[in-house]
């Protein structure tokens, strides 16, 4: 980029929202190389520090999934973070460019298309068409802006927000994809990053087809462990891991053959939906019993337990927005080029063995993406300013521990990793309620102190439902 510092943006004008937070919109250029060109408005939220006397600065929350609302996440964190943190920091969130309230993409995606990540068709050819159609919608509606919907541009926006806030340095908290946004920010604008927490960490090597492959593997690993754990309980699915797995597979094939009815769910569930439901229930140890209940109920027709029904209900309470899926696709397909030879995907899906492999390793819209990245993805090296705390559950299904270990190695001596051994959880601080992790993170945010060395914590025996 050009050596000249960008001009100071106009200060952000906040308006008060009914819930006590402050909202604002600030313009950012669509193409940061052309600051005077077309712009869009970023939507921001600020939850001011609870104790003005104790205010230390700004903690910016990065969106935890491409397309997901950072404004909603900031609200969630406002409730979940330790009070000492919300007292000391203005908590700032934003919907990243072309998502949420920030110039969202309207591509007219239908329900099946919204779940493009997990979509699979009967045949490879049919799936190729399905995914090509998605790329066609992206091109039809957004060809001009697609090259500018990348993580690096989101990081540039973040820096514009920092300047708009009038802050020399900001602290960052990023979960999942947000960890990658924050890490990229550190790499691009390191001198302006202060204390940075990266939780449920993505490997820079996964950008982004690799993410799908890695995820497929950890889904299968997690399912295997769930079978073992369910067998140990010797419940209705059986007392050997193989019996449990057979029960699981049988329900899947029944769903594939004609759909299965879950008591309380008005429509028959198809195989694809059931896989996604299983995947979601597997992702936290807290919902593992619910998966066993679903398989039992689907196998026998007996009613679901009330708690399971409630959990599933809450998972689907908020329908996924089409614009969220569009922004997700734009980033995942746009940060780095995908292979374009279809044979590669066909080979991968033919070799599929894990229960999510065919959906995740098959062809995706990226293979047909109508633009290519304007710049290579970010290369990582040791931090030269600021400090980073990486937080990771070892059995995190969405972001396997490999990512955190890798990035920790790359970031060097100004970073530390706190790993909770054997824990199946995604988004640890503060959502998993692990007091030891929370204490390390809280101290880091408030004082800047990192543990002397990387920590591996034994799983606390958190109460299981």
């Amino acid at each position: 980029m050009s050596a000249a510092p960008p001009p100071p943006p106009a200060p952000i004008r906040w308006t008060r929202a009914s819930d006590g937070s402050q909202r604002a919109r600030m313009p950012v250029p669509v193409d940061h190389r052309d600051p005077d060109g077309p712009s869009i408005d970023l939507a921001l939220v600020r939850h001011p520090a609870g104790e003005p006397g104790a205010r230390q600065g700004v903690l910016v929350v990065t969106p935890d999934d491409p397309g997901s609302s950072g404004i909603a996440l900031a609200g969630e964190l406002r409730q979940a973070l330790p009070p000492s943190v919300t007292a000391a920091f203005d908590l700032v969130g934003f919907d990243h460019r072309f998502s949420g309230e920030s110039a969202p993409l309207q591509w007219g995606l239908d329900q099946r298309e919204i779940f493009w990540v997990f979509h699979q068709s009967e045949t490879f050819a049919a799936e190729a068409r399905f995914q090509a159609e998605l790329a066609a919608k992206a091109a039809e509606h957004s060809l001009d802006v697609l090259p500018h919907i990348t993580t690096r541009d989101i990081a540039r926006d973040l820096d514009a927000v920092r300047r708009g806030l009038g802050e020399e340095r900001v602290c960052l908290l990023g979960h999942n994809y947000g960890s990658y946004v924050a890490a990229v920010y550190c790499r691009m604008f390191g001198e302006h990053a202060d204390r940075v927490i990266l939780d449920s960490v993505l490997s820079p090597d996964w950008v982004w087809r690799g993410l799908f492959g890695n995820f497929a593997r950890t889904c299968e690993d997690t399912l295997r462990r769930w079978c073992e754990e369910t067998a140990r309980r010797a419940g209705p699915l059986g007392d050997s891991p193989q019996r449990v797995r057979d029960a699981f597979d049988e329900v899947l094939s029944k769903a594939g053959a004609g759909g299965i009815m879950l008591p309380g769910v008005p429509v028959p569930l198809d195989e694809q939906f059931l896989r996604v439901l299983a995947m979601m229930l597997l992702s936290s140890r807290r919902s593992h019993p619910a998966l066993a209940d679903v398989i039992r109920s689907a196998g026998t027709g007996a009613p679901l337990e009330a708690a399971t029904q409630q959990l599933i209900g809450s998972m689907f309470a908020r329908p996924r927005e089409a614009s969220t899926a569009a922004a997700q696709m734009a980033v995942l397909c746009g940060d780095a080029p995908w292979p374009r030879e279809l044979e590669e995907y066909e080979t991968a899906s033919r070799a599929a063995s894990g229960f999510m492999d065919r959906a995740l390793l098959g062809v995706k819209a990226g293979a047909f993406w109508p633009v290519r990245p304007l710049e290579p993805p970010t290369e990582f090296g040791p931090l030269t300013s600021g400090r980073a705390l990486l937080v990771q559950a070892e059995r995190d299904m969405f972001t396997s521990d490999v990512g955190a270990r890798q990035l920790r190695g790359l970031l060097g001596e100004r970073a530390r990793l706190v790993m909770v051994r054997d824990l199946v959880e995604h988004r640890v601080f503060p959502f998993a309620g692990d007091a030891r992790v929370d204490a390390v993170a809280e101290e880091f945010l408030l004082t800047g102190r990192l543990p002397d060395a990387d920590l591996v914590l034994d799983p606390d025996r958190a109460p299981e439902r």
Partner: protein
């Protein structure tokens, strides 16, 4: 334009001209450097291979020959062909200059390792929509796999900017221009972008300004049917010789039976080449571009139906056709330009609808040309919008030449160009011929004299002139145009 200091070093570059190349009609070759990205001159250069045949007599100026006959074909090969055919007065009066356009032939060629079958992607005949999607996506993937840094800068506007560097290097304030087929589009775009630099331009076998570029494909099937049926009508009049049937519809049925056999998977070979569904349709395409090849096509169809020996003329024709496969870089650059001038639709559903409708209506080539094509999978968006033509900002005096039965660049397309260029253009129809590229290759003396006169003096025969065809092979159809 030439005042741009960043471009000045390209305009003033030193050029080493070779000795006259007998293989190029005595023209001298040279390699020029032009910016890969004309918006960023000086960053990275590419080479443009040019050749100049110096005026034999009193030099009147430069006649630049647009590259190719069809897109992706070598401009230097065209120059060689022209130097053997142009009227002597023009060779006397003009430095005649040809070039290969960027990324093909002598101009930073790009190769992609295409299979032989993948070089025919334009006319590739679908076995099914899904199989065709796969095939066309693969062609696009291969062509864009490695050299995308280069190919992202393949478009007609950049070729015209290269042409202006050639002009400046030749020391010409203004140039005359002669372009065929895709070269006609370049002639129109050049006049729009560099109007004051363009003097007289002859465009022959003219692309419609509306085509850029899917329209080129979707316009073909109806014109193809018309051209094929015209040949059928002619072959019917030669029933005694070819035994394909006494009427046009009989001959069409005979040809269709060959195609149907190939489509059923029967072994049909031509000079040892097994015909597939694409080749069975593509071979006639080349022959329908001129009545001169009508007998060859009739002989081939007779041969395929009866097994009788091929005539020596047919053997010659096929040997040339099979013997000179299109250079791979031409295919790659062609795709990059077709995709780079304007964005294509990308929806498979849209192409499938169009394919099915066109297959029904135009059974010969409808499915191939209206179906999904490699540009639908091109991985970069066009770098700039296509050029609006006829804006009033353009310059140059155009003589537009169209054969009334041309298949590939039909007469109606040429009329659209005439409408768009307006008063800057005069229009000449050559009657009763399907010959693609009439001047000077067909040998219509009236036309040749008229074009020569235009290039030498600027004189035109009026805005709308018809050259009769004394050599016409068949009477016009009773109901007018076929």
């Amino acid at each position: 334009m030439s005042q741009d200091p960043a471009l000045a070093r390209y305009h003033r570059q030193r050029v080493d001209w070779s000795h006259p190349d007998p293989g190029l009609g005595g023209a001298r070759r040279a390699v020029l450097r032009v910016p890969l990205d004309h918006r960023r001159p000086g960053e990275r250069d590419i080479e443009i291979g040019v050749a100049r045949h110096e005026a034999r007599g009193r030099r009147q100026g430069v006649l630049l020959v647009g590259p190719g006959d069809d897109l992706g074909n070598s401009g230097l090969n065209l120059l060689r062909a022209l130097l053997g055919s142009l009227p002597g007065e023009l060779v006397e009066a003009f430095d005649i200059v040809g070039f290969d356009h960027r990324f093909m032939g002598a101009s930073t060629p790009v190769l992609a390792g295409l299979d032989p079958d993948e070089r025919f992607w334009v006319f590739h005949h679908p076995e099914s929509f899904d199989a065709e999607l796969r095939y066309q996506a693969t062609v696009a993937a291969k062509c864009s796999a490695r050299p995308l840094d280069l190919l992202a800068h393949a478009n007609s506007r950049n070729i015209c900017r290269d042409m202006d560097v050639i002009r400046a290097v030749l020391g010409a304030d203004r140039i005359h221009y002669l372009g065929y087929s895709y070269g006609t589009y370049l002639g129109a775009v050049y006049g729009e972008m560099f109007g004051p630099r363009l003097d007289r331009a002859v465009l022959d076998a003219i692309c419609s300004p509306d085509w850029v570029w899917r329209g080129l494909f979707t316009d073909f099937p109806p014109n193809g049917e018309r051209a094929l049926n015209r040949w059928c009508r002619w072959a019917g009049t030669r029933h005694a010789t070819y035994q394909l049937g006494p009427t046009g519809p009989d001959v069409r049925a005979a040809y269709d039976s060959v195609v149907a056999a190939v489509d059923r998977g029967e072994q049909v070979t031509l000079m040892g080449f097994p015909l597939d569904r694409t080749l069975a349709r593509l071979i006639p395409v080349g022959m329908l571009n001129s009545e001169k090849a009508y007998p060859v096509l009739a002989d081939i169809v007779r041969h395929l139906l009866t097994g009788g020996d091929l005539e020596p003329d047919s053997l010659d024709f096929l040997t040339r056709m099979f013997g000179e496969p299109k250079e791979e870089s031409g295919t790659v650059a062609q795709l990059a330009i077709l995709a780079g001038d304007a964005a294509w639709p990308r929806s498979p559903a849209l192409y499938e609808r169009d394919m099915l409708a066109a297959a029904e209506k135009y059974p010969w080539t409808g499915a191939a040309l209206s179906g999904i094509k490699a540009p639908a999978f091109w991985p970069v968006a066009p770098a700039e919008p296509a050029t609006p033509l006829g804006t009033g900002a353009g310059g140059g005096d155009y003589l537009l030449v169209a054969a009334d039965e041309d298949m590939s660049t039909p007469w109606a397309a040429a009329r659209r160009m005439h409408e768009v260029l307006g008063e800057r253009s005069a229009f000449v129809t050559v009657a009763d011929t399907a010959h693609h590229r009439v001047f000077p290759f067909y040998g219509n003396a009236g036309l040749d004299a008229l074009v020569t006169d235009f290039l030498l003096t600027g004189a035109t025969p009026g805005p709308d002139h018809v050259c009769p065809n004394p050599d016409r092979l068949l009477e016009p159809a009773a109901d007018g145009r076929e």
